[in-house]
């Protein structure tokens, strides 16, 4: 019997000796992000985003008159509903909505989005944001935030800046901590703590931070930094998508400017 004394630190195996992650990314690389605005005609705004294999649809309705019970005199009411398609995970889910986890994520999304919207502009109104995760491969919450941002922009709802969200976790290489950005499902389930940051990178403010489990304070700053960098990288990608969308759709309607 021999014992290799290798303290199995969570996330020890996440980085190969060559410094690549399980899927071939480097620690600071995002997954491939593809997104599209205006995917539906019915809602006021809609968007679709793919972050690696995580795929999310977002639809925004509003602002419209708020229900009397919720209506606020000085600000808009955000109503978020997050749901995961039954086929979105490896094992088929029983029902798409409800469940404590979805409820909690809905709440968190509401909070994050509320901070980004110029909510004082629409008293007594309400904005509904519906998010549907078509495939979950880690970072579904982050992808949802990013999709919601695109859908809100598509709906022409005023925001302070892009609201971007990114996850980060920690792995070890040669005994040194190395933060990983945009964590995939495999890396998520490898056991490390996952930090989710939703932020408004261009005005340097953080909208929401969540941590899946305890992470030692020593590492928080590096992981946070990595997540923030991820947010900035995502902002660039989202901005590019928005401009592309504007360019495609503007062609006809700029006549109106002339009036």
């Amino acid at each position: 019997m021999s014992s290799d004394f290798n303290v199995k630190r969570p996330g020890l195996e996440l980085l190969s000796s060559q410094g690549l992650r399980l899927d071939g990314r480097r620690p600071n690389e995002l997954r491939r992000i593809q997104c599209k605005l205006g995917v539906f005609t019915q809602p006021d705004g809609s968007a679709y985003i793919e972050q690696g294999n995580t795929k999310v649809l977002a639809a925004v309705y509003g602002p419209h008159q708020a229900a009397k019970s919720k209506s606020l005199q000085d600000s808009v009411v955000i109503n978020c509903q997050y749901s995961m398609a039954t086929f979105s995970t490896g094992e088929r889910k029983k029902r798409p909505r409800g469940g404590r986890k979805s409820e909690a994520i809905s709440m968190q999304l509401t909070q994050a989005i509320t901070t980004a919207i110029k909510k004082e502009l629409y008293p007594r109104s309400q904005i509904d944001v519906y998010l549907e995760v078509l495939q979950a491969d880690g970072g579904a919450y982050s992808a949802s935030v990013n999709a919601a941002t695109l859908a809100l922009i598509d709906a022409g709802i005023p925001m302070k800046a892009y609201l971007c969200s990114c996850t980060a976790s920690i792995a070890w290489k040669d005994g040194k901590p190395e933060p990983l950005v945009d964590v995939s499902h495999v890396e998520e389930s490898a056991g490390g703590s996952v930090l989710t940051v939703s932020s408004l990178p261009s005005i340097n403010s953080v909208a929401w931070v969540d941590m899946s489990q305890r992470l030692h304070a020593d590492y928080l700053s590096v992981v946070m930094k990595r997540a923030m960098q991820g947010c900035r990288d995502i902002e660039v990608i989202l901005d590019k998508a928005v401009r592309e969308h504007l360019g495609e759709s503007w062609t006809m309607s700029d006549d109106a400017v002339a009036i």
């Binding site: 602002p63 005023p158 925001m159 302070k160 261009s202 401009r243 503007w250 006809m252 109106a256 400017v257």
Partner: protein
């Protein structure tokens, strides 16, 4: 009747954009600095922060004297006085109706802003209040004009003209308000015999040719226009108009009587109205329409 449902792969979808030769304007996106603060007034779609004017929506900048706005590609309808709107009655309240007009707050139609039978200047009595639901009830569609805008942005409507009022038979289409071209007249009787109300709020009403005009006027009571029988050909024409509008919308083209007419004429090469639901056909129609508009503009 069996219907054919076609679902296409994302990769096979038709790109509806119609090429134009116009240059793209400069776009601003949320959080982007539009200009420094000095000497400018903050308009829609902008906000001030850190001594800068920043965009809060994605779109193009418009400058009217010192007022700077950023106009998004699309947003909810923002009403202006005199706009023609099509809306749906949501609620009957004390001396007013709540009307949904695709704006961010529900609009109001005061009892005092409608034409009641028996002359314009008649005093509104308590009896009238009780009769409100007889006049317009929940779910009814109306056309109206924006009378005034309240401070919170909600609209007050009026129907004090014969052309406004309740809509009975026809098709309602909802499109993005930004696609409606502002014209003097939004009521059109198209050459094909169909009337169209292009609401500024993005609601478009397509109705059959009016056979017995101004019936209501002569009637004492405001009752539903009797449901008439509409010929198949009229219905097909209405459907064609609707599909043409849908084609223009898919290609993000501005809507007015001209573009709709052009599109209608171009669509005639498709015999079957149903064929117009094909994305290729829609693009074709939109493309040809754009071509004709360009020709008109050049002339």
């Amino acid at each position: 009747m069996t219907s054919h449902v076609k679902i296409r792969l994302a990769s096979e979808r038709v790109n509806h954009s119609v090429p134009t030769n116009r240059e793209l304007p400069r776009f601003y996106t949320p959080g982007e600095v539009v200009t420094g603060m000095e000497d400018f007034m903050r308009g829609h779609g902008t906000y001030a922060s850190d001594d800068c004017l920043k965009a809060s929506v994605a779109g193009v900048m418009q400058k009217v004297n010192k007022l700077i706005c950023v106009r998004p590609l699309k947003n909810r309808y923002v009403g202006e006085i005199g706009d023609v709107v099509v809306g749906r009655v949501l609620e009957v309240q004390q001396r007013r109706w709540k009307v949904e007009t695709n704006s961010r707050l529900d609009s109001v139609l005061q009892l005092s802003s409608v034409n009641l039978p028996g002359g314009e200047l008649r005093r509104r009595s308590a009896e009238d209040e009780q009769m409100m639901r007889k006049h317009l009830q929940e779910g009814d569609l109306i056309s109206a004009e924006v009378q005034s805008v309240f401070s919170d942005g909600s609209l007050s409507l009026h129907t004090r003209s014969l052309k406004y009022g309740k809509l009975s038979q026809g098709i309602l289409m909802k499109v993005f308000p930004s696609l409606i071209k502002r014209r003097k007249n939004h009521f059109h009787n198209l050459p094909c015999g169909i009337s169209v109300i292009i609401g500024n709020n993005g609601y478009i009403w397509i109705s059959p040719p009016e056979q017995n005009n101004l019936v209501e006027e002569e009637k004492d009571e405001i009752v539903n226009v009797e449901v008439q029988c509409i010929s198949r050909s009229d219905r097909e024409t209405m459907a064609r108009v609707r599909n043409c509008i849908a084609a223009l919308v898919a290609s993000k083209m501005l809507l007015d009587d001209t573009s709709i007419m052009f599109a209608y004429e171009e669509s005639l090469k498709y015999d079957n109205v149903k064929e117009l639901l094909d994305p290729e056909a829609m693009l074709d129609v939109a493309f040809l329409t754009q071509h004709r508009i360009n020709n008109v503009l050049e002339e």
